[in-house]
Symmetry: C2
Subunit: 345 residues, 2 copies
């Protein structure tokens, strides 16, 4: 069922998943398109972003953000167009970056919207390299990671929206960039297209050894977005005074209990102490919102100059968003995964 | 056997301890007092510092510093006097802060010495509140912890050399200071003498609950110097954007293996992420040596004004240093533990 001008499809959280989300955790509902009141505008979704953090919002475990309520639409960043307006600042036809979630239409009073103009060049980029994931890679690497020329930077999910930015920025700052990704195709892309110095396939049973060989000088910055076995392989390779920005732990998002022992928490603490490591968690818009404009300007220039490359993985149709998210959590995407919800025009 | 002018007693590492150090891991040896060559000077130890880090140096596990070699004198900070000199900058009678270790006499070429003058007011303070432990508390709290007025600061080993400085500085900066210490006497001292807002006895089986009640606003800075059960109690109480300077893990120094599972490493990582926590290990003189003078000037003023209080726990005689260290690792000290090795004059 394609997007219609009279019906509002939305995908709601049907139940909280235990472990990996399943089809039955989502439900497609249909409703009338809402009408904007005074001072409001109506948005039509063109693109929806799919991101690993969404798994966290499906759970009610304590986290940095409120969970999605069962029966409510899934949250998500969108690129949308104004299709009706009773708000002076938002003429019909304007493109915006919004948080209107997994649905065709949403009413807004303008708060939290970023204007993208009436004819943006590549509007969907604002969900990726010019949006939350790119901003995460940019600030996490440069502000927390503080890479210096000659240092070694390692990032996992290297072909993904965040990892690709981290590694390319590391190269731009004169560092050695080593990626970790799932499968030979992704690794080839990371090295040949994105210009990383090396990329390790995390499915290879020898991953830890291969990583150690790829970083003969140790690791100065590990940009943490996956956790699990990759972190375990990285930990003994961290150099004194290494920096570990922590922006995600995709490998653990589906976990329902802690792994078996021994308890390595004391080992991690001892490593932090003896190697004088800085680990710092961050949630990009909580920590860095005032610097979003600065990031956008810098990244637009890097894209224009061809110094940052970017690839999208487009899922077609809102009804395919649940499968798209489930696949993303398994790493089946090739590039930044977005959903084409409706036509540009 | 008291200090003599002709014999040099020294305590060497006899064997590497497994778990808690024992008497048999140390050996007292006697030798002739060495003679300074050209450009050298001879130091006579007056005070020896005993500190938890010494346990780490007895092991050959990888750490931030070289281990003591079996058969070599134990390392340690000392306050000493120049008793013979062929070095123009060091007249006989001068007091210095040195790293001459567990022995009566040592030859030096002057490198690494800090001059304390010919008649310092309280020379032993340079092993504690005006030395490495005070510097650790000062920089860890102020530079890494970044406490803001109204925030809550928690520190364990609160009656010890580092903890006492951390809590008192927290109060001076307008924070709420909550200490953790072993036993009612120490807790009373921490609250009544040092002016902390509260102190929890870590021997109380209800420690975690008592701590939670003592920090109704959560914890903004946890100064980590013990690890173990205290850290476990602190972790769920950390506020978003909490800072955790990590300068020691005394509870784990005697550990020979990791605790049983489950493996809480992923839990710690998730907490760092979802609460956007900064954890940072530091080894005071590696990270902050250039700021030692600034620290000494500030701390001398705070002591002079009575805003920082300080207590020493003096063990008499070099031969009692091993027992003194073993007791320190069990928390039996009341204040900064030092050894009176020889007379002032």
């Amino acid at each position: 069922m394609p997007q219609s001008s009279s019906l509002n499809r939305r995908i709601v959280l049907a139940s909280r998943p235990r472990g990996e989300p399943a089809d039955s955790d989502f439900r497609l509902e249909t409703d009338a398109v809402p009408e904007p009141g005074p001072g409001q505008l109506l948005l039509r979704t063109v693109y929806l972003s799919l991101d690993p953090y969404m798994r966290g919002r499906m759970s009610d475990a304590p986290s940095y953000a409120e969970p999605v309520q069962v029966g409510q639409p899934m949250v998500g960043g969108t690129v949308a167009r104004v299709v009706a307006s009773r708000h002076a600042d938002y003429p019909v036809g304007e493109w915006v970056l919004s948080q209107s979630g997994w649905q065709d239409y949403a009413v807004s009073d303008g708060s939290g919207l970023l204007k993208l103009g009436s004819a943006p060049e590549r509007p969907s980029y604002s969900l990726g390299v010019l949006g939350m994931p790119g901003f995460t890679g940019y600030m996490g690497l440069l502000d927390i990671g503080q890479p210096k020329a000659g240092e070694t930077v390692v990032v996992a999910a290297a072909s993904g929206a965040v990892g690709a930015v981290v590694g390319q920025l590391a190269k731009i700052h004169g560092c050695k960039a080593v990626g970790i990704a799932g499968g030979a195709d992704k690794c080839r892309y990371v090295v040949e297209e994105l210009g990383f110095d090396a990329c390790i396939d995390h499915r290879d049973p020898a991953m830890a050894n291969l990583l150690a060989k790829a970083v003969p000088q140790g690791i100065d910055v590990y940009f943490e977005n996956v956790g699990g076995a990759v972190f375990d392989a990285v930990l003994p390779l961290l150099n004194p005074r290494a920096r570990v920005p922590v922006c995600g732990l995709i490998s653990a998002y589906n976990a329902t209990s802690l792994p078996d022992g021994p308890d390595r928490l004391p080992l991690l603490m001892r490593t932090i102490l003896t190697k004088r490591i800085k680990m710092q968690g961050f949630i990009i818009f909580n920590e860095y919102a005032p610097r979003f404009g600065e990031f956008r300007a810098a990244m637009q220039e890097l894209l224009r100059d061809g110094r940052i490359k970017y690839r999208e993985d487009v899922v077609d149709g809102l009804e395919n968003a649940p499968r798209g998210l489930m696949g993303l959590l398994k790493g089946e995407n090739a590039g930044k995964r977005i959903v084409r919800v409706g036509p540009d025009e």
